[in-house]
């Protein structure tokens, strides 16, 4: 993707993250400067999770998602999940060596040897896989399984 076009698509997508949405969902937006979206999910019911979505080459390539501690440091381990089925993979990803998000719409998933046949091109035009759509899927995953 042309970098100018990628930035334009990125800016359009993150522009929908308005104050009302952020407040209602307990999302703390640290940065939305292309190519990174840095955001925390907060709730009184579970531990905070901070994510950095790196969106270079958006949307020809899905975002790479870093799992972060609240202070912004990279997580090298994730807490035991509340439910057996989770999008958060505690294993080391082959490229990053760290826990990762194993969900369609996330670069680490599509790169994973178990899912390389599940092509991003199947998803990229769907509203559920806009940046906002991916973000809400991550949020719901966090709500369901993060302790």
């Amino acid at each position: 993707m042309n970098p100018v076009a990628a930035k334009a698509l990125f800016d359009l997508s993150v522009g929908g993250l308005d104050d009302r949405l952020l407040t209602a969902r307990g999302w703390i937006l640290h940065s939305r400067a292309f190519p990174s979206l840095d955001i925390s999910f907060r709730s009184t019911e579970r531990l905070e999770l901070r994510l950095r979505l790196r969106c270079d080459d958006w949307n020809d390539t899905p975002p790479s998602v870093d799992l972060l501690a609240p202070d912004g440091g990279l997580l090298t381990a994730i807490p035991t999940q509340r439910s057996g089925s989770t999008i958060f993979n505690a294993g080391a990803h082959a490229r990053t060596g760290r826990p990762f998000v194993c969900m369609a719409g996330v670069r680490e998933y599509h790169e994973h040897s178990s899912h390389v046949g599940d092509l991003w091109s199947k998803y990229k035009a769907l509203d559920s896989y806009s940046l906002g759509g991916i973000l809400i899927q991550l949020w719901r995953g966090w709500q369901r399984s993060w302790p």
Partner: protein, 96 residues
């Protein structure tokens, strides 16, 4: 029409639909009949926000999933309601 952001009229619910593409209405709430199926306001929101494909999306209030075929009373909703609408948690590896 200006947003209705005061008190609901009799047999109305004040509704805002919150998505990552924006909120409908952008400010305040819309007054809608309490006997109207939830899906009607969602359809209006998708049109106004330019969302074309909502297959598999889920509407929640306070973390509770709504039956969008049912109306607000059947969904036990009254007063001011912010409906969070978007895709379900994605599928993936499901590893521990």
């Amino acid at each position: 029409m200006p947003p209705e952001n005061e008190h609901p009229k009799p047999h109305q619910v004040l509704v805002a639909v919150v998505t990552t593409s924006g909120t409908y209405p952008p400010e305040g709430f819309n007054g809608v009949p309490e006997h109207q199926p939830v899906k009607v306001e969602l359809a209006q929101a998708s049109k106004k926000l330019g969302i074309s494909n909502t297959n598999g999306w889920v509407a929640t209030v306070g973390g509770r999933e709504l039956n969008v075929e049912q109306n607000y009373i059947e969904n036990q909703l009254a007063g001011e309601v912010e409906i969070h609408w978007g895709p379900r948690e994605g599928g993936g590896g499901g590893y521990r």
